[in-house]
């Protein structure tokens, strides 16, 4: 059973991001938020594999990795009832399948505060 969380501290987070600089920045932020980075992946296969292999509390998923949709990973997470945030520059959700369309999003670029608020809402409040 999941225990109730009051803060982001210690959350096990998977990051799927193919831009090195951005990934490094997210890593720094997550560290600042005292989260545990379970894995950083740059491809969809790697993301799915990471989810299957490691227990995660949440995920920050770039919508698009090397031209491939993150959907398989998102589905994998949904199946496991793991909350995730879609991190993307896309404004529109049109044309997306429901899993992605309805998922909470964090729009690039974002600040530390933005990330914190979004994560707080998704990973703590929603799962509460």
């Amino acid at each position: 059973m999941e225990r109730r969380r009051e803060s982001l501290t210690g959350l096990r987070i998977l990051v799927a991001e193919d831009e090195t600089f951005v990934l490094m920045d997210i890593e720094d932020m997550l560290r600042d938020l005292q989260c545990e980075i379970v894995g950083t992946v740059a491809t969809v296969e790697a993301a799915v594999e990471a989810i299957r292999e490691n227990p995660v509390d949440g995920a920050l998923l770039d919508l698009n990795l090397h031209g491939q949709t993150i959907l398989p990973a998102a589905e994998e997470l949904v199946r496991r009832a793991v909350p995730f945030l879609l991190v993307t520059g896309y404004a529109s959700r049109n044309g997306d399948v429901p899993v992605l369309r309805d998922a909470p999003r964090l729009k690039k670029p974002f600040s530390l505060g933005g990330l914190r608020a979004a994560m707080h809402e998704v990973f703590i409040q929603r799962s509460a």
């Binding site: 600089f21 720094d28 031209g67």
Partner: protein, 1214 residues
């Protein structure tokens, strides 16, 4: 001519209920008791009062109320009202009128007697008449809609009340009443007509006024005032006084008659005094004048009153087939034999003097036509219908009669001879042409002659007996031998029963007896109205006063007398014995021999002297001496002695040798007891001498006596001769007189015909004027050609067009070179003549004008084809307009064809009229399949789009256009298409079909482009945001690793610039990929190392993301090289090389960074940010690995990563 002055009707003296003339003559004539009857009874009911008949129809009640509102209740008159009532409803009229008058108002029941100061109202659905002071109610005989109840009432009222009848016509439609009023006027009654201005419906009043029947035209409220005045006048109030005044032989009318003669040329002196007096008094009554002198003054000052009086005096009443039985008799006894005995084509001449408005003449024409048709014969029928009043003649000529006038004519006859007009009937032209109408006054003008039948009905009764005789004599003259005379039922031939024998006594048909009687015919000698009447001298024998011939010379007279007295009977002969001249009574001596008439004297000489005469003549001729001889001749059984002397006569003027042969009867010698002879011998010488002397004297005496006797006989003979000559002259004179009369008669007839011709001529002239003006006015070039295509006539307008002059008439049209180019004219004209069709062609004239040339057959009035009519109508403007329209059409067509938008033209049924090539191309519907198909059937129903149909129907019904209607429709052949539709209704004036122009804009591709653009924008936004995120990350990472801002700035700028350069490259390549050589070149370019940097490797395309990552790696490597490595001094060199290896897991790119010649290399104590960034990028982003060596001669780095093919340009992801 016909003056039919109104008769003073017997009625004034004899009410029919008091003494009715036997034989029904009074009623049978419809008009009058015989004049004799009129005078017969002088009694009159004392309690009589005027009866007023009132006829009205629509709008009548209103008028009646106005009338009775002001009518005194004690006016001493009775009122009988006939109104057109609905036969199926009970009438409220009596009740209604009762509220407006104090007189008792009653609805009429049959047999009701009339009381003064009462008002009687007709019951619905009934026919009302007045008979002997009682009201009679009957079932109407005619079907509803054909009734004339007002006519019926007026007619009966007139006959019952005569001059006391007063009739009032009020508001109403139609002509009801007018026919009845004629009878009223005839009887001397009074007619009041409502002023049409005040009538709600003015049909009945106007009809009465037009027929000249109204005595007074008044508003209803003014009628009582007039009635009061009128009935108090002596004409109504004291008729006896008038009658008595005539009996006294007083002639108060002479000034009036003179006035009429002077002012209007009508001579009424032969009209019956009583009639004249009564009529004049009637006029006086209407004018409310009591004294004749006053009335005469009125006449003098008022020409209109003269005209009214003349009209009253000559009132003419006639009807079709008046007295039907009489006409039937006439038909059977006169017309039938006439038609039977007359050969076809023979002339039949009838004469109706005093024809009034022509009904009698037309009646005759109808009967005769029917008879002729039954006998299948055709005659030259000529019916002279004459009257002295032009008004009447004009009406008769027009031949239009109200329905009531023809009501007595049976329907089949009506159909046969009349054309029905609106409410009236017109005589058909066929019948009209049989009758010649002419002005003629029987009392004044010479009669027509050789007439088969004269109908002169109800004319004689108006004139004095003396004049009647004259007229009858004229009629006798006018008839051919055994011709017929048809008089009115109250007329007879009277004293002239020697001239006519009776054919039908009852119906007054007579036949002329004997030869023409010149002795009794008194021809008017001078035409003209003021011819002095010569009644006195009229019957004087023609030969009574021998005309004073030229006086003969007295010597001749004397010689003639002597010759007659003394000269013996003699014959002048030539030498051959040929008689040249007879003198005296030669009959005793000469006798014409048997055989041919001869002049041979010897052949004529009586027996006994021929031989001696021959000898004596020979001797006398030869000796030139007188020779005498005695002879005995036998004459009538006795012998007589004759002394003959033959003496030569010399006449210088004649040839020699004339002989005069004289005869003298010798008395046989008688033995006279002459005393002297007895005793002669005893006488003395003196005695003897005396005796001798006595003897000589005796001989001389005897000679003388003989001579005297001879002369006496000769004179007697001469006298006889003169007498016979005189007789001859007289007979010649008579013949001349007859000829003169005939000539006059012919003259009259010619005059009549001439008049008719003039009339026709005038009509023709008028028609010609109309036609000329029409042809000039229309400015239509018209040419008439005859059947040989010769020019018969042309209109003025054709002169210019066809270059015709007047002398061209009669020339064949083929001889002309017409100004218009019309080669087909002749051919077409022949076709028109042959087939009797119309033929149109457009031909060009000079100056570029165009004409519509139309050929039609020229039809004469009897529908014969007499040629061709050619008209030329200028259609240049039309033609130009048509050309312009054509051009516009071509122009429009060209636009439609050229436009790249598909276009459809639809008609009102949404059927495709035409499509343009763009449509065919865009939708793949062949033109031939599309045109003519319904829109929703087009392309197998591909266009069956409900919304579109609704819009198109809207256009047809209300809107004129729609624009930009978007249709998203899946076509079976083309798939989904987006279209924008514009439509316009092409509405035209006139009856052309409505058309719709439908323009289609296929915006499918535009839509796709828009969608693409939106995608691109989304992508761009994504990229920008990604890039921003990356820049943000570079900034924050660089910041984290920088100890100062000075350190941060170049590092950050360098990285951002590298990123920018990578983007530049990708943009250059349209973001499709990046070539590795270019990437390297661009990244190292800022360091401008010239040949110190060597790039080496195959051309190799990488995906954009790989490219960016590689650029960032190269940038970090280059930054390190510039800071610490081979590029930090002047000698170091750098070689960047790459290659593509084919491995088990696909292709791998191997890139080698080799620095040489730089400062000595010291491996760093800890891994720098740059190095870890390189490693991180290579592993994380490129999925590859990195090998870094800090060798002594220089830094070396090797990056190897799997080659990901450049992704397709338009990926949805990025």
């Amino acid at each position: 001519m016909a003056r039919k002055p109104s008769v003073k009707r017997g009625g004034s003296n004899s009410k029919p209920n008091v003494s009715k003339p036997p034989g029904g003559a009074a009623r049978g004539g419809g008009k009058a008791a015989a004049p004799a009857a009129a005078k017969a009874s002088g009694k009159r009911k004392s309690a009589e009062f005027p009866v007023v008949g009132i006829g009205a129809s629509a709008g009548g009640i209103e008028a009646l109320i106005k009338l009775f509102d002001v009518m005194p209740a004690d006016i001493s008159m009775a009122f009988v009202i006939v109104l057109h009532l609905d036969p199926t409803h009970e009438s409220q009229l009596a009740h209604l009128l009762g509220q407006h008058t104090e007189m008792p108002v009653a609805e009429i029941s049959d047999g009701m007697s009339i009381e003064p100061d009462h008002v009687y109202v007709i019951a619905p659905d009934s026919s009302l008449t007045v008979e002997r002071g009682r009201l009679r109610l009957k079932e109407p005989a005619e079907p509803r809609g054909h009734r004339h109840p007002v006519d019926v009432l007026f007619d009966s009222l007139a006959n019952d009340q005569q001059e006391r009848a007063i009739c009032i016509v009020l508001s109403g439609t139609g002509r009801n009443g007018t026919e009845g009023l004629k009878e009223v006027k005839m009887q001397g009654g009074c007619v009041l007509v409502q002023d049409p201005e005040t009538a709600r419906f003015d049909g009945m009043p106007r009809s009465a006024i037009t027929a000249n029947l109204a005595d007074q035209i008044l508003a209803p409220e003014h009628m009582p005032e007039f009635l009061l005045r009128y009935i108090r006048h002596a004409y109504i109030a004291a008729p006896h006084a008038i009658d008595e005044s005539t009996d006294g032989g007083e002639l108060p009318l002479d000034p009036i008659l003179a006035l009429l003669r002077l002012r209007c040329g009508h001579d009424f002196r032969h009209y019956k005094r009583t009639t004249l007096l009564r009529r004049v008094h009637r006029r006086m009554g209407l004018a409310n004048l009591e004294a004749v002198d006053d009335y005469t003054d009125l006449l003098r000052s008022n020409p209109a009153e003269i005209a009214a009086l003349v009209k009253d005096l000559m009132i003419s009443v006639t009807r079709f087939f008046r007295d039907p039985e009489a006409w039937e008799t006439l038909d059977k006894t006169v017309l039938a034999p006439l038609v039977a005995e007359r050969d076809s084509d023979a002339p039949i001449r009838l004469w109706a003097p005093g024809c009034a408005t022509g009904e009698e003449a037309y009646s005759l024409a109808m009967l005769l036509t029917e008879r002729a048709e039954a006998a299948q014969k055709q005659f030259q029928i000529k019916i002279f219908a004459t009257d002295s009043q032009d008004d009447n003649l004009n009406l008769a000529r027009a031949g239009v009669y109200p329905e009531a006038a023809v009501s007595a004519i049976p329907p089949d006859r009506l159909r046969r001879f009349f054309d029905k007009l609106d409410g009236s009937y017109e005589i058909k032209k066929e019948l009209r042409d049989l009758v010649v109408f002419a002005p003629h006054n029987l009392l004044r003008d010479a009669p027509f002659s050789r007439i088969d039948l004269i109908t002169c009905r109800n004319l004689l009764i108006y004139i004095e007996p003396e004049m009647q005789k004259r007229v009858l004599a004229l009629l006798h003259f006018g008839l051919r031998e055994a011709g017929y005379l048809f008089l009115g039922s109250a007329e007879t031939v009277g004293a002239h029963d020697d001239l006519f024998e009776t054919v039908s006594k009852k119906w007054r048909i007579f036949r002329r007896l004997g030869p023409t009687r010149h002795d009794i015919v008194d021809f008017p000698l001078l035409p003209g109205p003021t011819r002095p009447a010569k009644v006195e001298g009229a019957n004087a024998p023609a030969g009574e006063q021998p005309p004073a011939r030229l006086a003969p010379r007295l010597a001749d007279v004397a010689q003639r007398a002597l010759l007659d007295r003394f000269a013996p009977a003699s014959v002048l002969v030539d030498r051959n014995g040929r008689a040249l001249w007879f003198h005296g009574p030669t009959g005793d001596f000469l006798a014409p021999p048997t055989g041919e008439p001869t002049h041979d004297l010897l052949a004529m000489a009586r027996d006994g002297m021929t031989a001696k005469l021959r000898g004596a003549m020979r001797q006398a001729a030869s000796d030139n001496q007188a020779v005498a001889f005695d002879a005995w001749i036998r004459h009538g059984g006795t012998r007589r002695a004759v002394a003959v002397a033959v003496a030569p006569v010399s006449d210088p003027k004649a040839q020699d040798g004339l002989l005069l042969v004289s005869f003298r009867s010798e008395e046989p010698p008688q033995a006279s007891p002459a005393a002297p002879q007895d005793g002669g011998k005893e006488g003395s010488g003196a005695e003897r001498a005396l005796e001798d002397e006595l003897k000589a004297t005796r001989a001389e005496l005897k000679n003388t006596v003989e001579q005297m006797e001879g002369a006496n006989e000769e004179l007697k003979a001469s006298n006889e001769e003169i007498t016979s000559m005189n007789e001859e002259l007289q007979s010649t004179n008579e013949e001349l007189e007859t000829s003169k009369e005939e000539l006059q008669s012919f003259n009259e007839e010619l005059h009549t015909v001439n008049n008719q011709l003039q009339h026709k001529n005038q009509e023709l002239e008028e028609t010609t004027d109309h036609l000329n003006n029409l042809l000039t006015g229309t400015d239509l070039a018209t040419v008439f050609l005859d059947t040989d295509l010769r020019i018969k006539w042309f209109s003025p307008a054709s002169m210019d067009l066809l270059d015709l002059v007047a002398s061209d008439i009669g020339r064949p049209v083929s001889h002309f070179t017409l100004k218009v180019a019309d080669e087909a004219l002749l051919r077409d004209a022949k076709i028109v003549l042959e087939k009797l069709i119309r033929c149109d062609a457009e031909v060009q004239g000079d100056a570029g004008r165009w004409y519509l040339r139309r050929l039609i057959p020229y039809r004469t009035h009897d529908n014969r084809i007499a040629g061709v009519v050619a008209t030329f109508t200028d259609i240049t403007a039309r033609k130009q307009a048509a050309d312009a329209a054509d051009e516009a059409r071509i122009y429009a067509q060209a636009i439609v064809e050229t436009v790249r938008h598909p276009l459809l033209v639809l008609d009102g049924d949404l059927r495709v009229q035409s499509v343009n090539p763009a449509f065919v191309e865009a939708f793949g519907c062949p033109r031939e399949e599309s045109e003519g198909a319904l829109l929703h059937d087009l392309d197998h129903g591909a266009w069956d789009i409900p919304e579109l149909r609704r819009l198109l129907n809207d256009i047809l019904s209300q809107n004129d256009a729609f624009d930009g209607f978007g249709v998203d429709h899946v076509f079976p052949r083309l798939g989904r298409r987006h279209m924008l539709l514009n439509a316009r209704k092409l509405s035209r004036d006139g009856d052309r079909l409505e058309l719709i122009l439908l323009a289609i804009e296929d915006i499918t591709e535009r839509k796709q482009a828009e969608a693409h653009r939106e995608t691109l924008i989304g992508e761009l936004s994504h990229r920008v945001k990604n890039t921003l995120a990356m820049v943000q990350s570079i900034a924050s990472q660089t910041l984290r690793r920088s100890s100062s801002l000075d350190e941060f700035r170049p590092a950050f700028e360098g990285r951002v610039h590298a990123l920018a350069r990578a983007h530049d490259l990708l943009v250059d390549e349209d973001w499709t990929g990046a070539e590795i050589g270019q990437l390297a070149l661009r990244t190292l370019e800022p360091y401008r190392m010239g040949d110190r940097v060597v790039l080496d490797g195959p051309r190799l395309l990488l995906s954009p993301q790989t490219g960016v990552a590689l650029v960032m790696i190269l940038h970090e490597l280059a930054t390190n090289a510039v800071k610490y490595g081979a590029l930090s001094n002047h000698d170091g060199r750098l070689q960047v090389s790459w290659r593509l290896d084919n491995g088990e897991n696909g292709q791998r790119v191997r890139l080698k960074w080799v620095e040489t010649g730089g400062p000595p290399v010291n491996p760093p104590s800890h891994k720098g940010f740059g190095t870890s960034l390189i490693e991180r990028s290579a592993s994380h982003e490129l999925g590859g690995d990195t090998k870094v060596e800090f060798r002594e001669d220089g830094f070396l780095c090797e990056v190897s990563f799997p080659r990901r093919d450049a992704p397709p340009p338009r990926s949805d992801t990025g």
